[in-house]
Symmetry: D5
């Protein structure tokens, strides 16, 4: 089941550099595990922004929320979610 | 070069059904040619909306505009565009 | 799987009364079938608006979109969707 | 009498962890009392957000405000309220 | 029970003058009955707008919706509602 | 002369409790003097918000501004103002 | 008493040219009377818009509304109003 | 050449009172020089706000920016600018 | 004197094709005269939109408004204007 | 390939003056290198704002993002991007 997600990251300017570096390293590690598993199906950087566009492929809304809220940067993100379907005009049986 | 595009379609309620059917058939045909060529890289329906999320893979901004403005439904679309890059945390060399 | 949905209905003021009456009757019939099946889990009228707040309980995003887009009033609705989870503080195992 | 309420929680990033833990524990305890009494009729987590959608069933607007403003997290919440009615198409006499 | 209501009226410019005159006369008659009964507790014109600020004093949300949706101009109004309470600093026991 | 005023209060979370308590006590005292004089004609709490809806009855715009800007909580308020008139449909000669 | 007013005019594209010409001529005549009387104290065209910024000098909110709602173009205007005072830093006793 | 300018001032609540008093005194002095020279052609306080509506009469956009950015309160202002022309319906040859 | 201008064009879907073709041809002719004269200093198409970003180089705000309001498509445009200056960091004495 | 970029700069009021001076000097140096290379094709100050309008001429979206995110002021900027094309009505073969 696919969800389109935009994440904008806002770290407070008062956060010590070592804390933000640790958060980003932890985020990257967790992301790569999810990417390898196929659950974090797509990710792109939005040019000119500390933000990404992602597509999640998860089994349920519960898994969607559990995954997002476990991200180390979750407390510093603004998140927008849209549920996605296969488009009826597509040539493919399955667009993930 | 990747661009994230959201297209919302608004056909006037006064349009005759045969005109809208023809427009949609023409749109589908042009879309499928672009999908087959790899230029219309991704498309998903946004649940509950007459709208899609797409990713275009084109050689230039000129090609992006020429492709969009040639779509039969272009005069009835609201379009939002964001340029995309490979995300630096990705496990893949190339995310299209 | 639960989705929170707000539907605002806007019928054009030029629609003939018999057409809008038929649309509303068809909408009511389809709604009641979905309510009886448990898929349209909750519905409330928003006071002072031609709008409702609903909770859908469906098996997938595809079923969500198929159900919404089959509604007779769908072409005249503005729809906003938010995926819902059980709240971790709830006393109940399952809140539908 | 039913009210639809969305609550978004924003704790300042400078709040000491023990203070936020205490606030959340107090909030949970008060919530569960209200849920058990039937006044906090529904609650769901909005996926991807530190926010909930709730339905309150209270005797008056005064009770609505007294309940909300007594919540431990009230000073940190953005709240949106919509009064709700039974929907005229519903199969049920009473939808709470 | 008090509700603060703003009503903005938008009649289509294509409506025949006799129809809008009849609608306004019907609206005025129904309004005056509600004002006399005490349910439409306050009304003011907003300077420079075809709009009013009102305070309703009704027994329930159901009565609020039934009253608003029965107004002849209801299909042409944009309505915003906020539930009101007595203010704790007021010198009066009851502010209606 | 009547003005409709909405005041939303935002005290910084870093303000010492004794300072906010003093500000609120001073605000209440000044409010009650204005209410007794008839200048602060109406006040209601908006349910679920640290905000009020008020109607001022003042002799001039200068008096309106002087009164508002002298309030102890003025530096912490977001204020929205709309000039009001008697509504032409009202049964009363004077609606204050 | 001074009010700052922005008026944006939107004539429907279906209005016959002679009707819009008549409306504009009537508007101009009424405007010039009000300008000569001193009530329409200032007027400027906003560059690039069919809109003006004006300052009215009227005796009351009632006169403000009566003047605006009598304008021939009133049904086609979007109006925004802000009450104005003399600025405390001004070198002049009276800024109109 | 005329420009319509709205300035909203937001001083941080943490600024020491003597610093804000100095800033305001410097601002007033610079303002009065510009008012005396005719460049700051009009100024009014917006009732209920720490904000003003002004009209500048300057020789160029460069002078407009140089004047605004030299104001002591400039770093704390939100500024909105609209270029103004003489209105074609005005009775006067020159409206400044 | 430079002004940054965004123009979005919205032709009504009911306009006969020959009328819109004539309007566009007239617009193009007038544009090219202004481009040749140096007054319409820059123009770019915004990809995916029937809209342009332009920079005008005119002698006064009056000339800016006279030029814009004489465009054949002016009644169908939404226009946003920002006055521009040379940037202080630029290597050039004059950036037009 | 052209991109239209608006950059609004917001430095925290708590930043020490020497730090902001250093950031601005570094920004200016990097900007001038990019301007000299032709990649930062245009820049203008927006009158009355700590903001600029720029046009970038880069080989790819990746270069666009790499350039923007390397700017010393990038963490303090709000950035809006629109891809640009040559306008079909232009007299020139190439508008950069």
């Amino acid at each position: 089941m696919l969800f389109h997600i935009r994440m904008d990251v806002n770290l407070p300017s008062t956060m010590p550099p070592e804390q933000s570096a640790q958060l980003k390293a932890d985020e990257k590690a967790m992301f790569q595990g999810l990417q390898a598993s196929g659950k974090w199906r797509h990710i792109w950087r939005i040019a000119g922004h500390y933000a990404n566009i992602s597509v999640f492929d998860v089994a349920s809304v519960e898994e969607l929320h559990a995954t997002l809220s476990a991200l180390p940067l979750f407390p510093y993100m603004t998140i927008a979610i849209a549920p996605l379907c296969r488009h009826p005009s597509s040539l493919h049986e399955d667009d993930r």
